[in-house]
Symmetry: C2
Subunit: 449 residues, 2 copies
């Protein structure tokens, strides 16, 4: 497949200089940007990990079974009884007004004050990422993001022919000084910087949270450099102990586009998320949304709106918190028991632990052996645009039960120990060093520094 | 707003040469393609036409009230009872397998034989248009389409910085010889032609249907010139008398990407449509779909799948046919009674009549007076990329009741007669000529010929 995505030169006369190949007669017709669309490593994994005998620590599926079905069924029945024809019809490209008002209540929990008129409802927050990227990214632009970063955001940036420049994190999230240096360096190279894409709270995949004092500092750096902040916050309400700092958007409304979603606090099957944006950007997001899909699903939006009206949604989020907290704690204690030679982050919320393997192990090369041992994970390389992350693994504790998590980590330990034995046999470098604390998830990427 | 969409030059150093303006501090950060996203004339109209005292002949909303609500409620209840956690979860980027199998049955009604593995479920067929355009359109490319054509398809093409080249129609649809000439001319100018976008059956807005013998001829012209055919078929099953010719896709599976939707035969509120594409293109559409939204709504897809299993969906389409046939006949008889000085198409299906005003009348200029007379329509200019259509109006008979349609056409006649009186007063050119038969909807557009 990869070879097919190479772009064939199209002549001035508009006729391809090479014919279609025998696998794809339209090979020479694709846009240049289509070359940036390739299957992610995570995607290929899903096929493998879906076999029932495999314990998957790979996906990011929320545990929707913790949601009482009658809460959803009751909301649906009310919508169809009271407003059926409206729910079945086209709606506004911006989204249902009542739901946008209710979204204000959700965001208020993280310190955000806003107007419902600045919210655009999207087909999951993923589509907000896509629409925002379509509006802002020219070929050759640079997007700043944490390293590692969310896979499918990077797929979008690449599909608009932009490059990702990673900025390292530590246990308190993105490092402000590293951001400052990175921006200076890229500007010196004459690169166009459009925005900083960040997941400040319970980062995917790193599991860390940006400290409160850093939020203001990073915002200031962005402002000084004329760079928008795209704050992606799917997990913020799913904290385990103390509440995380308020959203970056709570500090500034002109320089931040905030993305939220009901996929993790309710259910992803409805595909309802949103963007909160400064007025002018919001207007363009609505136009882009209308061009792409005419309007988000009236039905999905109205069912969620009714659920928020009828049900104890804050109590339900609390239930989810309890489920994920137990799973996270199970994972950490299993790691301590079975993988003492590794290091990991210990998140206060969200879905993911970021594991660092002992030196010289390669998470991607190790994956086939892991699948043979009936455990699946996402190799760290999936979360870097630059080949970083070979020594890392993202472990998801959101979907498997605590029992499965323990079994999965035990299997993973067998794989890691097997790899270490192998390494030991073929090298005679003495005992392997392990690092218990990672200060930074990646060195400056080789192709960008 | 229009001035704000003008692109500011970005210097080689990556710093905008002009600062943001006071309305939008991010003015200089947008991608070049964002300039192509502007509010359509149809969109602006929706706001006006939604006032209850206005009879709207403008929108394209299906009459969902003709759908018994319990059919939907029963399907939803079954889904939640039997497969709740699956419906609430993320799903495949290609769409639910069972639904894709059922879509084969829908398409078989128009002569299409295909494999479910070549179907990609999308967020309405609108999103299939968007994804296909993202995959194929480079800046400066040309899309061939009927003149007039579907507004929001043209908005998408423009948003990817492509141009639309119109090809005229007559009462039998797109004129093959005109297509041949247009292609030759554009190729001679060195333009890159990527695909022909066509709505062959019950055209939006023209109401005409491509004759059977022309379907093969147009396919052959496309093949000879290495151009894909993008067949958009939302209305094909909504015929009034004899069944229309089979879909173009029924004649060729390698050169046609076919778009279908449940928005008109069931309900648009679910946002479920699909693309049927040759293997290699289908693979890329799945990747583009996953990047844009991760997956289409599991919930919407499973409710529709259950509806197709439980309900007499063919009988329901028959009900819709009856509703729209009555409305179309009411509209035609009202036009005959109230607007004998105009000409119009008389569709055998779909949602729209295309009206041609007497010479020298301007449908766009006339619109404010129409709204004052409490009738709304879409001016013909909305459906041309080149300023054509001033003498035309799209009249929708899908949503208003027959009584409203008669009232609306009577009001429209008052407006037209008022304009004619005015014209008469200010010119002394004697009786106005009217044309009863339109052979072609547009001359070759001035900026492309």
């Amino acid at each position: 497949m990869k070879a097919k995505q190479k772009r064939i030169h199209v002549s001035e006369q508009g006729r391809p200089t090479a014919p279609g190949n025998n696998l794809d007669p339209w090979y020479s017709s694709y846009a240049a940007r289509a070359a940036g669309l390739s299957a992610s490593e995570v995607r290929a994994l899903f096929a493998v990990a879906s076999r029932p005998e495999v314990v998957s620590l790979a996906g990011g599926m929320p545990y929707v079974s913790a949601l009482p079905e009658d809460l959803v069924t009751n909301a649906m029945s009310t919508v169809m009884r009271d407003e059926g024809p409206t729910a079945l019809q086209y709606g506004s490209g911006q989204g249902v007004p009542k739901l946008r008002e209710q979204i204000l209540d959700v965001m208020a929990l993280e310190g955000i004050k806003a107007s419902a008129s600045d919210i655009v409802v999207t087909t999951g927050s993923q589509h907000a990422l896509e629409l925002f990227s379509k509006l802002f990214l020219d070929p050759g632009d640079v997007v700043l993001s944490e390293g590692p970063s969310y896979v499918t955001a990077m797929v979008i940036f690449k599909s608009y022919q932009a490059e990702v420049a990673h900025v390292p994190m530590d246990d308190n999230g993105l490092i402000p000084e590293a951001l400052r240096e990175r921006i200076a360096q890229l500007k010196a190279e004459g690169r166009r910087l459009k925005f900083l894409y960040t997941i400040p709270t319970f980062h995917n995949p790193a599991g860390v949270t940006l400290a409160a004092e850093r939020r203001a500092e990073i915002l200031q750096i962005a402002q000084e450099n004329g760079i928008l902040v795209l704050e992606d916050n799917p997990y913020g309400l799913l904290y385990f102990n103390q509440q995380p700092p308020n959203a970056i958007r709570s500090l500034d409304e002109d320089g931040v586009v905030y993305l939220g979603t009901f996929s993790k606090t309710l259910a992803p099957g409805f595909r309802v998320g949103w963007a909160l944006a400064p007025h002018a950007i919001r207007e363009k997001l609505i136009l882009a949304n209308e061009a792409a899909i005419l309007c988000p699903s009236s039905f999905s939006q109205m069912v969620i709106s009714e659920y928020l009206s009828q049900a104890d949604w804050k109590g339900q989020i609390n239930t989810f918190r309890g489920v994920y907290k137990e799973r996270k704690e199970t994972m950490i204690s299993a790691l301590e028991e079975y993988l003492p030679g590794c290091t990991w982050t210990n998140p206060n919320g969200g879905f993911y632990v970021w594991l660092t393997l002992p030196d010289d192990l390669d998470s991607k090369a190790m994956l086939p052996r892991a699948v043979k041992e009936l455990v699946a994970y996402t190799p760290g390389t999936a979360f870097y645009a630059d080949g970083g992350g070979r020594q890392n693994i993202r472990l998801s504790f959101c979907y498997p039960t605590p029992e499965q998590i323990r079994v999965g980590i035990r299997r993973l330990a067998n794989v890691v120990n097997g790899e270490l034995d192998l390494l030991h046999t073929f090298t005679s470098s003495g005992p392997l060093t392990t690092r218990r604390s990672s200060q930074s998830f990646n060195a400056p990427p080789p192709n960008m520094s």
